[in-house]
Protein backbone atom coordinates (compact mmCIF):
# COMPACT_ATOMS: atom_id res chain seq x y z
CA UNK A 1 0.00 0.00 0.00
CA UNK A 2 2.88 2.33 0.84
CA UNK A 3 4.48 1.64 -2.53
CA UNK A 4 1.24 2.32 -4.39
CA UNK A 5 0.81 5.58 -2.50
CA UNK A 6 4.39 6.63 -3.27
CA UNK A 7 3.84 5.85 -6.95
CA UNK A 8 0.53 7.66 -7.21
CA UNK A 9 0.97 10.69 -4.98
CA UNK A 10 3.41 13.53 -5.81
CA UNK A 11 6.10 14.13 -3.19
CA UNK A 12 4.83 17.55 -2.20
CA UNK A 13 1.33 16.12 -1.49
CA UNK A 14 2.46 13.02 0.37
CA UNK A 15 2.12 14.41 3.90
CA UNK A 16 -1.39 15.76 3.39
CA UNK A 17 -2.69 12.73 1.49
CA UNK A 18 -1.33 10.25 4.01
CA UNK A 19 -2.68 12.23 6.93
CA UNK A 20 -6.17 12.22 5.42
CA UNK A 21 -6.17 8.41 5.47
CA UNK A 22 -4.47 8.14 8.84
CA UNK A 23 -7.23 10.37 10.17
CA UNK A 24 -9.86 7.91 8.93
CA UNK A 25 -7.78 5.00 10.25
CA UNK A 26 -7.42 6.45 13.73
CA UNK A 27 -11.11 7.33 13.88
CA UNK A 28 -11.82 3.70 13.03
CA UNK A 29 -9.39 2.60 15.72
CA UNK A 30 -11.29 4.56 18.35
CA UNK A 31 -14.65 3.13 17.31
CA UNK A 32 -13.26 -0.38 16.94
CA UNK A 33 -11.32 -0.39 20.20
CA UNK A 34 -14.41 0.52 22.20
CA UNK A 35 -16.60 -1.96 20.32
CA UNK A 36 -14.12 -4.84 20.32
CA UNK A 37 -13.13 -4.27 23.97
CA UNK A 38 -16.77 -4.26 25.01
CA UNK A 39 -17.72 -7.32 22.95
CA UNK A 40 -14.62 -9.29 24.06
CA UNK A 41 -15.34 -8.61 27.72
CA UNK A 42 -19.13 -8.88 27.81
CA UNK A 43 -19.96 -11.37 25.05
CA UNK A 44 -17.07 -13.41 23.74
CA UNK A 45 -13.47 -13.04 22.68
CA UNK A 46 -14.32 -14.76 19.38
CA UNK A 47 -16.84 -11.97 18.72
CA UNK A 48 -14.08 -9.39 19.13
CA UNK A 49 -11.90 -11.22 16.61
CA UNK A 50 -14.86 -11.50 14.20
CA UNK A 51 -15.40 -7.74 14.28
CA UNK A 52 -11.76 -7.12 13.38
CA UNK A 53 -12.06 -9.77 10.65
CA UNK A 54 -15.09 -8.01 9.17
CA UNK A 55 -13.14 -4.73 8.93
CA UNK A 56 -10.44 -6.53 6.96
CA UNK A 57 -13.24 -7.81 4.73
CA UNK A 58 -14.36 -4.25 3.98
CA UNK A 59 -10.72 -3.40 3.17
CA UNK A 60 -10.75 -6.34 0.76
CA UNK A 61 -13.89 -4.99 -0.95
CA UNK A 62 -12.32 -1.54 -1.22
CA UNK A 63 -9.24 -3.07 -2.85
CA UNK A 64 -11.22 -5.02 -5.47
CA UNK A 65 -13.77 -2.26 -6.17
CA UNK A 66 -13.68 -1.60 -9.94
CA UNK A 67 -12.25 1.77 -10.97
CA UNK A 68 -10.94 3.13 -14.23
CA UNK A 69 -7.19 2.87 -14.59
CA UNK A 70 -5.36 6.08 -13.91
CA UNK A 71 -1.72 6.83 -14.61
CA UNK A 72 0.45 7.36 -11.55
CA UNK A 73 0.65 11.02 -10.63
CA UNK A 74 4.41 10.94 -10.35
CA UNK A 75 5.05 9.03 -13.55
CA UNK A 76 2.63 11.08 -15.60
CA UNK A 77 2.91 14.82 -15.42
CA UNK A 78 -0.61 15.17 -16.80
CA UNK A 79 -2.09 13.92 -13.50
CA UNK A 80 0.05 16.36 -11.65
CA UNK A 81 -1.09 19.06 -14.02
CA UNK A 82 -4.69 18.05 -13.38
CA UNK A 83 -4.20 18.59 -9.62
CA UNK A 84 -2.47 21.87 -10.26
CA UNK A 85 -5.12 22.77 -12.79
CA UNK A 86 -7.96 22.10 -10.39
CA UNK A 87 -6.33 24.34 -7.80
CA UNK A 88 -5.84 27.04 -10.40
CA UNK A 89 -9.42 26.71 -11.61
CA UNK A 90 -10.69 27.05 -8.05
CA UNK A 91 -8.53 30.15 -7.55
CA UNK A 92 -9.72 31.58 -10.84
CA UNK A 93 -13.36 30.95 -10.01
CA UNK A 94 -12.81 32.76 -6.71
CA UNK A 95 -11.27 35.71 -8.51
CA UNK A 96 -14.15 35.75 -10.98
CA UNK A 97 -16.65 35.56 -8.13
Amino acid sequence: MNTSLMEQVPKHFMGRVQNAFYFVGTFLQIALSLTVGSVAQKLSLAGGFAIIGSVYLVAFISAVWPIGSEAPAIAGNHCMSSAVGSVQMRSMSRIIA
Partner: protein, 313 residues
Protein backbone atom coordinates in the same frame (compact mmCIF):
# COMPACT_ATOMS: atom_id res chain seq x y z
CA UNK B 1 16.99 -4.95 -3.57
CA UNK B 2 20.66 -4.38 -2.71
CA UNK B 3 20.70 -1.08 -4.60
CA UNK B 4 18.57 0.43 -1.83
CA UNK B 5 21.05 -0.59 0.86
CA UNK B 6 23.88 1.01 -1.09
CA UNK B 7 22.36 4.42 -0.48
CA UNK B 8 23.78 5.79 2.76
CA UNK B 9 20.80 7.96 3.63
CA UNK B 10 18.33 5.11 3.21
CA UNK B 11 20.56 2.74 5.19
CA UNK B 12 20.48 5.15 8.12
CA UNK B 13 16.71 5.64 7.87
CA UNK B 14 16.02 1.91 7.71
CA UNK B 15 18.39 1.20 10.61
CA UNK B 16 16.80 3.97 12.68
CA UNK B 17 13.38 2.46 12.11
CA UNK B 18 14.36 -1.09 13.05
CA UNK B 19 16.02 0.11 16.26
CA UNK B 20 13.23 2.53 17.12
CA UNK B 21 10.52 -0.03 16.48
CA UNK B 22 12.28 -2.61 18.65
CA UNK B 23 11.96 -0.20 21.55
CA UNK B 24 8.45 0.92 20.66
CA UNK B 25 7.28 -2.67 20.29
CA UNK B 26 8.69 -3.57 23.70
CA UNK B 27 7.09 -0.45 25.18
CA UNK B 28 3.65 -1.18 23.69
CA UNK B 29 3.61 -4.82 24.74
CA UNK B 30 4.93 -4.12 28.26
CA UNK B 31 2.47 -1.28 28.89
CA UNK B 32 -0.49 -3.32 27.59
CA UNK B 33 0.54 -6.24 29.75
CA UNK B 34 1.14 -4.06 32.82
CA UNK B 35 -2.28 -2.42 32.47
CA UNK B 36 -4.03 -5.76 31.97
CA UNK B 37 -2.34 -7.15 35.09
CA UNK B 38 -3.15 -4.01 37.09
CA UNK B 39 -6.81 -3.77 36.04
CA UNK B 40 -7.78 -7.25 34.67
CA UNK B 41 -9.95 -5.45 32.17
CA UNK B 42 -10.03 -5.54 28.37
CA UNK B 43 -11.96 -2.29 28.59
CA UNK B 44 -8.86 -0.72 30.17
CA UNK B 45 -6.89 -1.85 27.10
CA UNK B 46 -9.63 -0.43 24.91
CA UNK B 47 -9.30 2.87 26.79
CA UNK B 48 -5.54 2.76 26.23
CA UNK B 49 -6.09 2.33 22.50
CA UNK B 50 -8.64 5.15 22.41
CA UNK B 51 -6.36 7.55 24.32
CA UNK B 52 -3.56 6.79 21.90
CA UNK B 53 -5.70 7.95 19.02
CA UNK B 54 -7.36 11.06 20.43
CA UNK B 55 -4.41 13.45 19.88
CA UNK B 56 -3.96 11.95 16.44
CA UNK B 57 -7.58 12.81 15.62
CA UNK B 58 -6.93 16.41 16.60
CA UNK B 59 -3.54 16.75 14.90
CA UNK B 60 -3.75 14.66 11.75
CA UNK B 61 -5.96 16.93 9.67
CA UNK B 62 -3.45 19.76 10.08
CA UNK B 63 0.03 18.22 10.37
CA UNK B 64 0.11 17.07 6.74
CA UNK B 65 0.71 20.66 5.68
CA UNK B 66 3.71 20.89 8.04
CA UNK B 67 5.13 17.59 6.73
CA UNK B 68 4.93 18.89 3.16
CA UNK B 69 6.34 22.28 4.07
CA UNK B 70 9.23 21.51 6.46
CA UNK B 71 12.44 19.47 6.35
CA UNK B 72 11.15 15.97 7.07
CA UNK B 73 14.40 14.70 8.56
CA UNK B 74 14.50 17.50 11.13
CA UNK B 75 10.85 16.92 11.93
CA UNK B 76 11.53 13.25 12.67
CA UNK B 77 14.51 14.14 14.88
CA UNK B 78 12.38 16.57 16.83
CA UNK B 79 9.65 13.96 17.30
CA UNK B 80 12.19 11.35 18.46
CA UNK B 81 13.61 13.74 21.07
CA UNK B 82 10.21 14.67 22.49
CA UNK B 83 9.05 11.06 22.77
CA UNK B 84 12.35 9.96 24.33
CA UNK B 85 12.00 12.53 27.13
CA UNK B 86 8.43 11.47 27.94
CA UNK B 87 9.42 7.79 28.09
CA UNK B 88 12.48 8.48 30.24
CA UNK B 89 10.29 10.31 32.77
CA UNK B 90 7.87 7.39 33.10
CA UNK B 91 10.76 4.92 33.20
CA UNK B 92 12.18 6.73 36.25
CA UNK B 93 8.75 6.66 37.91
CA UNK B 94 8.48 2.92 37.18
CA UNK B 95 11.92 2.23 38.66
CA UNK B 96 10.84 4.05 41.81
CA UNK B 97 7.67 1.94 41.94
CA UNK B 98 5.50 5.04 41.69
CA UNK B 99 4.04 4.59 38.22
CA UNK B 100 0.25 4.60 37.98
CA UNK B 101 -2.12 3.51 35.23
CA UNK B 102 -3.15 7.09 34.39
CA UNK B 103 0.50 8.03 33.91
CA UNK B 104 0.88 5.16 31.43
CA UNK B 105 -2.23 6.38 29.65
CA UNK B 106 -0.72 9.86 29.48
CA UNK B 107 2.64 8.58 28.25
CA UNK B 108 0.97 6.56 25.50
CA UNK B 109 -1.22 9.47 24.50
CA UNK B 110 1.80 11.75 24.08
CA UNK B 111 3.97 9.13 22.39
CA UNK B 112 1.13 8.20 20.06
CA UNK B 113 0.63 11.86 19.17
CA UNK B 114 4.27 11.89 18.13
CA UNK B 115 3.94 8.60 16.29
CA UNK B 116 1.01 9.77 14.18
CA UNK B 117 3.12 12.65 12.96
CA UNK B 118 6.25 10.52 12.70
CA UNK B 119 4.85 7.78 10.48
CA UNK B 120 3.56 9.90 7.58
CA UNK B 121 6.73 11.99 7.86
CA UNK B 122 9.02 9.00 7.59
CA UNK B 123 7.05 7.57 4.66
CA UNK B 124 7.28 10.92 2.88
CA UNK B 125 11.00 11.14 3.70
CA UNK B 126 11.63 7.68 2.24
CA UNK B 127 9.67 8.64 -0.88
CA UNK B 128 11.89 11.73 -1.08
CA UNK B 129 15.15 9.77 -0.69
CA UNK B 130 14.28 6.79 -2.90
CA UNK B 131 14.88 6.95 -6.66
CA UNK B 132 11.68 6.43 -8.67
CA UNK B 133 11.17 2.81 -9.62
CA UNK B 134 12.68 1.54 -6.35
CA UNK B 135 9.79 2.37 -4.00
CA UNK B 136 8.77 -1.27 -3.63
CA UNK B 137 12.27 -2.32 -2.56
CA UNK B 138 12.55 0.58 -0.11
CA UNK B 139 9.15 -0.20 1.39
CA UNK B 140 9.89 -3.90 1.61
CA UNK B 141 12.96 -3.14 3.71
CA UNK B 142 11.15 -0.50 5.73
CA UNK B 143 8.13 -2.63 6.57
CA UNK B 144 10.09 -5.84 7.13
CA UNK B 145 12.31 -3.94 9.55
CA UNK B 146 9.49 -2.14 11.28
CA UNK B 147 7.06 -5.03 11.55
CA UNK B 148 9.79 -7.49 12.38
CA UNK B 149 11.36 -5.10 14.90
CA UNK B 150 8.04 -4.12 16.48
CA UNK B 151 6.63 -7.57 16.82
CA UNK B 152 9.81 -9.44 17.63
CA UNK B 153 10.15 -6.84 20.38
CA UNK B 154 6.75 -7.94 21.60
CA UNK B 155 8.10 -11.45 21.77
CA UNK B 156 11.27 -10.44 23.63
CA UNK B 157 9.35 -8.40 26.17
CA UNK B 158 7.27 -11.43 27.10
CA UNK B 159 10.45 -13.11 28.26
CA UNK B 160 12.30 -10.16 29.83
CA UNK B 161 9.39 -8.33 31.45
CA UNK B 162 9.49 -10.49 34.58
CA UNK B 163 13.22 -9.77 35.03
CA UNK B 164 13.67 -6.07 34.23
CA UNK B 165 10.15 -4.82 34.88
CA UNK B 166 8.29 -1.99 33.19
CA UNK B 167 11.02 0.54 34.10
CA UNK B 168 13.71 -1.54 32.38
CA UNK B 169 11.64 -1.98 29.24
CA UNK B 170 10.94 1.75 29.05
CA UNK B 171 14.62 2.54 29.56
CA UNK B 172 15.46 0.29 26.60
CA UNK B 173 12.86 2.17 24.56
CA UNK B 174 14.44 5.50 25.55
CA UNK B 175 17.85 4.21 24.41
CA UNK B 176 16.47 3.17 21.03
CA UNK B 177 15.11 6.69 20.49
CA UNK B 178 18.59 8.09 21.15
CA UNK B 179 20.10 5.68 18.58
CA UNK B 180 17.33 6.54 16.11
CA UNK B 181 17.99 10.28 16.57
CA UNK B 182 21.69 9.78 15.83
CA UNK B 183 20.87 7.77 12.70
CA UNK B 184 18.64 10.56 11.33
CA UNK B 185 21.34 13.06 12.22
CA UNK B 186 23.65 11.19 9.84
CA UNK B 187 21.15 10.94 6.95
CA UNK B 188 22.13 14.28 5.37
CA UNK B 189 23.26 17.76 6.24
CA UNK B 190 21.46 21.07 6.05
CA UNK B 191 17.81 21.91 5.47
CA UNK B 192 16.02 20.16 2.61
CA UNK B 193 12.44 20.90 1.60
CA UNK B 194 10.53 19.26 -1.25
CA UNK B 195 10.11 21.90 -3.97
CA UNK B 196 6.57 22.59 -5.21
CA UNK B 197 5.59 23.04 -8.82
CA UNK B 198 5.79 26.68 -9.89
CA UNK B 199 2.00 26.95 -10.35
CA UNK B 200 1.29 25.89 -6.76
CA UNK B 201 4.06 28.11 -5.41
CA UNK B 202 2.59 31.13 -7.12
CA UNK B 203 -0.89 30.28 -5.88
CA UNK B 204 0.29 29.93 -2.28
CA UNK B 205 2.41 33.07 -2.48
CA UNK B 206 -0.74 34.92 -3.47
CA UNK B 207 -2.36 34.03 -0.14
CA UNK B 208 -2.28 37.09 2.08
CA UNK B 209 -1.61 35.70 5.55
CA UNK B 210 0.11 32.64 7.05
CA UNK B 211 -3.27 31.34 8.18
CA UNK B 212 -4.79 31.71 4.74
CA UNK B 213 -1.73 30.03 3.24
CA UNK B 214 -2.13 27.13 5.65
CA UNK B 215 -5.80 26.58 4.78
CA UNK B 216 -4.98 26.98 1.14
CA UNK B 217 -2.37 24.21 1.31
CA UNK B 218 -4.79 21.99 3.25
CA UNK B 219 -7.44 22.51 0.60
CA UNK B 220 -4.97 21.61 -2.14
CA UNK B 221 -4.64 18.14 -0.60
CA UNK B 222 -8.42 17.69 -0.59
CA UNK B 223 -8.59 18.81 -4.22
CA UNK B 224 -5.94 16.27 -5.13
CA UNK B 225 -7.94 13.44 -3.52
CA UNK B 226 -11.14 14.56 -5.22
CA UNK B 227 -9.43 14.26 -8.57
CA UNK B 228 -7.94 10.82 -7.87
CA UNK B 229 -10.58 8.20 -6.86
CA UNK B 230 -8.03 5.40 -7.25
CA UNK B 231 -5.91 7.00 -4.51
CA UNK B 232 -9.03 7.35 -2.35
CA UNK B 233 -9.89 3.64 -2.63
CA UNK B 234 -6.30 2.68 -1.96
CA UNK B 235 -6.24 4.97 1.06
CA UNK B 236 -9.53 3.58 2.30
CA UNK B 237 -8.11 0.05 2.25
CA UNK B 238 -5.09 1.39 4.09
CA UNK B 239 -7.22 3.17 6.71
CA UNK B 240 -9.37 0.07 7.31
CA UNK B 241 -6.28 -2.11 7.60
CA UNK B 242 -4.75 0.35 10.03
CA UNK B 243 -7.86 0.54 12.21
CA UNK B 244 -8.23 -3.24 12.34
CA UNK B 245 -4.54 -3.97 12.92
CA UNK B 246 -4.20 -1.48 15.76
CA UNK B 247 -7.30 -2.85 17.47
CA UNK B 248 -5.57 -6.23 17.66
CA UNK B 249 -3.90 -5.12 20.91
CA UNK B 250 -7.34 -5.22 22.59
CA UNK B 251 -7.83 -8.96 22.01
CA UNK B 252 -4.35 -10.49 21.71
CA UNK B 253 -3.34 -10.30 25.40
CA UNK B 254 -6.70 -11.87 26.32
CA UNK B 255 -6.17 -14.68 23.82
CA UNK B 256 -3.01 -15.61 25.69
CA UNK B 257 -4.52 -15.02 29.12
CA UNK B 258 -8.03 -16.48 28.83
CA UNK B 259 -7.82 -19.03 26.02
CA UNK B 260 -4.23 -20.33 26.16
CA UNK B 261 -3.65 -19.61 29.88
CA UNK B 262 -0.05 -18.89 28.88
CA UNK B 263 0.56 -15.52 30.57
CA UNK B 264 3.17 -13.01 29.42
CA UNK B 265 5.24 -15.71 27.74
CA UNK B 266 2.26 -16.84 25.65
CA UNK B 267 1.62 -13.23 24.67
CA UNK B 268 5.25 -13.06 23.67
CA UNK B 269 4.89 -16.16 21.47
CA UNK B 270 1.79 -14.73 19.78
CA UNK B 271 3.70 -11.56 18.95
CA UNK B 272 6.70 -13.60 17.84
CA UNK B 273 4.47 -15.51 15.39
CA UNK B 274 3.20 -12.27 13.89
CA UNK B 275 6.72 -10.82 13.83
CA UNK B 276 8.21 -13.84 12.06
CA UNK B 277 5.40 -13.76 9.48
CA UNK B 278 5.85 -10.03 8.90
CA UNK B 279 9.58 -10.43 8.50
CA UNK B 280 9.29 -13.41 6.15
CA UNK B 281 6.82 -11.47 4.00
CA UNK B 282 9.80 -9.43 2.79
CA UNK B 283 10.96 -12.56 0.94
CA UNK B 284 7.83 -13.07 -1.14
CA UNK B 285 5.91 -9.75 -1.08
CA UNK B 286 7.82 -8.01 -3.93
CA UNK B 287 7.38 -11.04 -6.24
CA UNK B 288 3.71 -11.37 -5.31
CA UNK B 289 3.05 -7.66 -5.92
CA UNK B 290 4.87 -7.81 -9.27
CA UNK B 291 2.90 -10.89 -10.34
CA UNK B 292 -0.58 -9.89 -9.14
CA UNK B 293 -0.31 -6.13 -9.39
CA UNK B 294 -0.59 -3.81 -6.36
CA UNK B 295 -4.40 -3.75 -6.04
CA UNK B 296 -4.91 -7.49 -6.32
CA UNK B 297 -2.02 -8.13 -3.93
CA UNK B 298 -3.68 -5.84 -1.38
CA UNK B 299 -7.03 -7.58 -1.92
CA UNK B 300 -5.49 -11.04 -1.41
CA UNK B 301 -3.76 -9.86 1.78
CA UNK B 302 -6.96 -8.34 3.17
CA UNK B 303 -8.89 -11.51 2.26
CA UNK B 304 -6.39 -13.68 4.16
CA UNK B 305 -6.45 -11.35 7.17
CA UNK B 306 -10.27 -11.34 7.24
CA UNK B 307 -10.44 -15.15 7.11
CA UNK B 308 -7.73 -15.90 9.63
CA UNK B 309 -8.78 -13.19 12.09
CA UNK B 310 -12.34 -14.53 12.13
CA UNK B 311 -11.28 -18.17 12.43
CA UNK B 312 -8.31 -17.79 14.84
CA UNK B 313 -10.07 -17.96 18.23
Amino acid sequence: MRAILQKRALRFVLLANVVSMLGSGMNAAAVAWHILQATHSEMALGTLAVLQTLPAMLLLPFTGVIIDREDRRRLVMMLDSARALVILTISILAFRGKVQVWQLYLMNTLVAAGFWMFWPTITALIQELTPEGQFMEANTFLLAGIQGGWLMAGAIVGFVYNHIGLGGVLLIDFTTYVVSFLCYFGVRKGKHVVPRPAELRADIAAAETAEKRFWHELWEGIEFLRDHPNVVLLGLSWALFLGAMLTGVVVTPSLSDRVFHAGAVGYGWLNAGWGVGAFLSALYAPKLITRLGPRLAIAVSMGFLASFMTLSP
